[in-house]
Amino acid sequence: MTNGVAELEGSDAIFIIGSNTATSHPLVATRIFRAIENGAKVLVADPRKNQIAQFAHLYVRHKPGTDVALLNGMMKVILDRGLADRAFIDANTEGFTEFKTLIDQVSLEDCAAITGVPVSQIEELAQIYGKADRGSIVYCMGITQHTNGVNNVKSLANLAMVTGNIGREGTGVNPLRGQNNVQGACDMGGLPNVFPGYQPVTLGAASKKFADAWGKDTLPTNIGLTIPEMFSAIEKDKMQGLWIMGENPVVSDPDADHVKKALEDIEFLVVQDIFMTPTARLADVVLPGASFAEKDGTFANTERRVMRVRKAIDPVGESKADWEIIQEISTRFGLSMAYAGPSEIFDEIARLTPSYSGISYDRLEGDGIQWPCPTPAHPGTPYLHKDGHFTRGKGLFHAVEYKGPAEVVDEAYPFWMTTGRVYAHYHTGTMTRNSAALDREVSEGFLEINPADAAALDILDGQKICVASRRGEIETRIMITDRVEKGVVFMPFHFEEANVNKLTNPAYDPIAKIPELKVCAVSLTKV
């Protein structure tokens, strides 16, 4: 997030798109509910009418995968009606002319036809967000998990920049990170193209700095493979060894049958986890890690706040903290590691990562610190891009044209399928389904379907149905609700026995390599 979560309370307009905030980020929803109490106007755009949409000043239901069309329509209205912040654009951005040329060619009627949102509603969205003094954008995987995910995000950045809604308290472009430490895993260089602190592996200076620190002559400078690329490499017999730590791609990744096959085929698979997940069942070596309650360390949350994790109990059985496991294997492999504990590792991180340099365990007592925090005296940074100073210098507008999703409905697969979470479960359910209270609350998967579609298929609430896509088929119970509109169905992805990721489309965004989990075409048959 460019801004802090608590700042939302002071926003006067909040545009939520592709986020079921009350379910997936309940403690962010707290701030949004408060903003509403404080008089903020909340705008929600989502194919599914989620809980927070009930409280929205305006809720629009756009068709899955049509975000860019909706956003371009809004920006057309903003430019045409003089709601753009020209002073901000002139002082702090570049690329505006090309962007404007594209937006000028956009027709609101086309946007309405593509998105299914009437022109008047696109206008109202634009008016409210465009006129806001402190407008905040909140989004989640509903924006990113598309073949044009990067374009969706760029469009949101355009929207914030064109109205000058960035670099001040209560504004910003705010992705809600789905996992507790997805921010940290990225910060720490758990990506194929960057070292910790987003220092590119291709950059000579960065490579030298890390090589020196790690006692190596050189480090690889070619960009590595992303997850989907690794699965392809395994298939083509270009990858023989894979070490998976704390992930469950057999359930979480699109086209699950395909993933499973790759992991069955690979020569050597190491899985380090806390439960015997469907992925671990395929491993050649299973390493029992410790849960968050059994070790020390740090997590970075969605607002870049680095916070301590503290050991409450000893690891269960013979399990070990993951850092100890890595250290042992690395040493035996030939790269000696002898850290006394996580705080020593953190000190090394701080030395090599500019945005973390001022942070130490001592300073993390209390409220934690929001990076960037360059020096030990620096208080941390609640919001980024202050006064329009962007990381790259000037904020760059991207002219983004609308492109449809990779797979569209047709006669054989006539329903749009979209996916998400339920309030009582988390991701692949590895942890939550081992929690009695949560399992009691929601114990099996389901498919949400509009009453009209259910009537047409002659099925009743709670009945079983077969759901098929071009990649696989599953059976699940249906829940009849008008949260989803006619022609659209929704499934949560926590349940391996009705794993919706057997159906989802692995087609991915060309830049971010993020799969299109939020849109695919399916057929429904009564069983």
């Binding site: 789905g178 730590m245 968050f292 360390g297 916070m307 690395s330 953190f346 949560l438």
Partner: protein, 135 residues
């Protein structure tokens, strides 16, 4: 009699709520939201309130295992460490560094993510490291 409250950060979503894990005689018995946390101000969701439950589940993995004759068998840590290190060394020697890949995790700590990418880059010599940021 030993009763402790350990301040920590939630392992579920990206909100990063702070709470105390209640430990009575070495067992987790409850979760209490931290009232003075700037993130959650003494509030939690249903997952947070029950986060202590999965930790001591009987389904937890408690022993390292190696697949022998097609079946996963319990082994000692020494055997698991040596076997993993030597198999990775063999693959690197035969097929090169880029024949090995790593999936690190949005669920483990910063320190652990840092170590695994350090091992991938400086130990094995590959940038094939990624995690589920996209999922």
């Amino acid at each position: 009699m030993d009763y402790q409250n350990i301040l920590t950060t939630c392992t579920y979503c990206g909100c990063g709520c702070n709470f105390f894990l209640e430990v009575l005689d070495g067992k987790l018995v409850g979760t209490i939201p931290c009232k003075t946390s700037p993130v959650n101000e003494g509030k939690l969701c249903i997952k947070g309130w029950n986060v202590h439950q999965f930790v001591q589940s009987e389904n937890r993995l408690t022993h390292p295992m190696i697949r022998k004759n097609g079946v996963l068998e319990k082994v000692s840590w020494d055997e698991a460490f040596d076997y993993t290190a030597s198999r990775l060394s063999e693959i690197k020697a035969e097929k090169g560094s880029d024949a090995i890949g790593f999936l690190t995790s949005a669920k483990v700590t910063n320190e652990e993510n840092y170590l695994l990418q350090k091992f991938a880059r400086a130990g094995v010599g590959t940038n094939n490291i990624d995690h589920c940021a996209r999922l």
